[in-house]
């Protein structure tokens, strides 16, 4: 039954999604494992429990909208869309291949359920704002969700969009920040500090919440609370671990964009099967 409210069932789905991600990336031989695994629990909470969707129907007119602004987490999104029936699960093994529906970064023309083409960082929040404005103009009750990376918010456009969302009182928008503390070149605090995070978003006029980004019940509670905020946009800072779920990937900057070797892959599958 959809949506799913049982936390244990959601946890089990997240485990299976992580297995899918590891499998996809191992087969593809390239792609972003760390940021896909850090965002998995947030995405499972959104897609399997919180957002208003008709699973498998990308054109459902009453749907909530989702923008994967951190487009490199595409494998996590694809694994979820496949399980929800937007396209056959067998296609997951074609990730990044020539002619695949599953491009390296999300392409709305190729993949059912992908609303916006992303991949160049910093652009998704502006698009989410535009969607939220359109919904307000049309007096529709649907909501817009956007997932941002913590390195991504170093892009100036994010802060332009942060002003716009606040200026236009976009209370039908919830952003989630995947705060996994790593980016390609190292720790965010060493590459380019983004703290104080909550204070920044609050100063820009946003309702700001912080959660354990791997606790699905906590994520769901925060998402629900954001739905009740009137007159301003919301952001949930989800504290996560990059590579979550596989010990050798966790908090390891190497696994931002490097895929596992055969041994690492086998260990990852073993660990995820035991969880």
């Amino acid at each position: 039954m959809y949506p799913i409210s049982d936390p244990n069932q959601l946890k089990e789905i997240a485990r299976q999604i992580r297995l899918d991600i590891v499998e996809m990336l191992y087969r593809a031989g390239s792609g972003h494992v760390g940021g896909s695994l850090s965002a998995t629990d947030v995405l499972v909470a959104l897609f399997f429990s919180h957002m208003h969707l008709e699973p498998g129907n990308a054109c459902y007119p009453e749907r909530d909208f989702f923008v994967l602004s951190k487009g490199h987490a595409a494998p996590a999104l694809y694994a979820i869309l496949a399980r929800l029936g937007y396209f056959p699960r067998e296609e997951l093994s074609t990730l990044r291949r020539f002619g695949s529906h599953l491009q390296g970064h999300p392409d709305s023309k190729c993949t059912p359920g992908v609303e916006v083409a992303t991949g160049s960082l910093g652009q998704g929040l502006s698009v989410a704002n535009g969607l939220a404005l359109a919904l307000k103009l049309n007096r529709r009750g649907q909501r817009v969700y956007a997932l941002l990376g913590d390195g991504e918010i170093q892009e100036g456009q994010i802060w332009e969009a942060a002003m716009t969302a606040s200026h236009y009182s976009l209370d039908n928008l919830t952003a989630i920040l995947d705060r996994n503390r790593l980016q390609i070149d190292g720790r965010t605090k060493e590459v380019m500090s983004v703290e104080p995070l909550a204070a920044k978003w609050e100063a820009f006029g946003w309702h700001t919440a912080q959660v354990d980004g791997h606790s699905i019940p906590d994520i769901l509670e925060a998402l629900k609370a954001c739905g009740g905020i009137i007159g301003r946009p919301s952001i949930i800072i989800a504290h996560t671990t990059k590579g979550k779920g596989v010990s050798i990937f966790e908090d390891n900057v190497k696994f931002h964009g490097v895929t596992p070797t055969t041994e690492e892959y086998q260990q990852a599958v073993r660990e995820l099967q035991l969880r």
Partner: protein, 324 residues
């Protein structure tokens, strides 16, 4: 019956940016889904005319062109018909990658209408004069690129853009141009216009330079040269049939644009001629340099964009034709 009194014809001039602002406000009544975005230049781009009437459908994003393009993309995804306006250099330069990634890549229904194209921006100087926008937009897949030559053409293009599904870039200008098209003018995608028949040379212009080409044809006529004049206002997709047909008839060609001679109309025509019907071609345009402050007429003279410059290029092209 006595002879009718002679009347002196004063050419009517209209500004393409003002005509954009007027038609947009008018189309706002007809199409409730039109929304307009601006980045703090609504007086100059003329979107203020729409904003005044349709307050709830106008979004000023402040001085944030990148965010404006993304917001426009989101509004298009939400079923709206967004028009996003600012100066040409900020629209296409500052926000180029946003246009590429979010609008052109996804083929979203966003209309970018940018004012202050070219050097006739004048006194503001090189920082504000876009001589690169046509090249920047022409290279993007899915993007339609248009430059109206007068008021009727502006109105026709904007009206057409509303019903076309996909991204469109329209460049308007700061200074007014003479009116050369009928008020009933209808825009057709991929179609250029033959404005004057001629056998010796083709002068192909865009925007302001269409008028300079017409004036050049007059100068050439005084020397016994018959010039064919084209308005290639639809830069992409280009009317290659008209270009090839003109090349075949006249055997040589001059392009003229208020833009870099690299990447805009001159390049587009050259690409067509090289592949389909090579003839001598000369490009009148800005030669690998930036603009500067000055009066529009001073700048046009300085950068070699006058009817005299076009006529000179035409004679040169004809000489090459004679040699080949």
């Amino acid at each position: 019956m006595g002879a009718l009194p002679e009347t002196v014809q004063v050419p009517v001039k209209e500004s393409t940016r003002v005509e954009y602002g007027k038609i947009l406000a008018q189309l706002g009544e007809e199409y409730p889904d039109i929304v307009v975005l601006d980045a703090d230049l609504s007086g100059s781009t003329q979107t203020a005319r729409f904003a005044k009437i349709f307050k709830d459908r106008f979004f000023n994003v402040g001085i944030a062109e990148q965010d404006m393009m993304g917001t426009a993309a989101g509004l298009a995804l939400g079923g709206k018909i967004p028009f996003a306006s600012t100066f040409a250099i900020f629209a296409t330069g500052r926000a180029w990658e946003q246009i590429r990634q979010t609008i052109a890549y996804g083929s979203l229904n966003v209309k970018i209408v940018a004012s202050h194209g070219g050097i006739t921006v004048g006194e503001d100087g090189g920082s504000h004069q876009s001589v690169e926008d046509l090249a920047l937009m022409r290279v993007l897949p899915n993007m339609v690129v248009l430059v109206p030559a007068d008021g009727p053409e502006t109105r026709a293009m904007v009206r057409w853009a509303v019903t076309y599904q996909g991204p469109v870039y329209i460049r308007t200008s700061r200074i007014p141009f003479p009116v050369i098209h009928d008020d009933s003018h209808i825009f057709k995608l991929g179609r250029g216009h033959l404005l004057r028949e001629g056998d010796d040379v083709t002068l192909a212009g865009i925007g302001l330079m269409v008028h300079e080409c017409l004036a050049a044809a007059e100068l050439l006529a005084q020397k016994g040269v018959s010039a064919r004049v084209l308005n290639l206002s639809c830069l992409k997709p280009l009317d290659w049939e008209l270009v090839v047909d003109s090349a075949r008839r006249t055997g040589c060609l001059v392009t003229a644009e208020e833009h870099s001679a690299t990447g805009g109309l001159g390049s587009a025509v050259s690409e067509v001629l090289t592949e389909f019907y090579p003839v001598p071609q000369l490009r009148v345009g800005i030669r690998d340099t930036f603009g500067m402050s000055g009066k529009p007429e001073e700048l046009l003279k300085h950068f070699g964009l006058t009817p005299e410059d076009i006529a000179k290029a035409a004679l040169k092209a004809m000489a090459r034709k004679a040699r080949s």
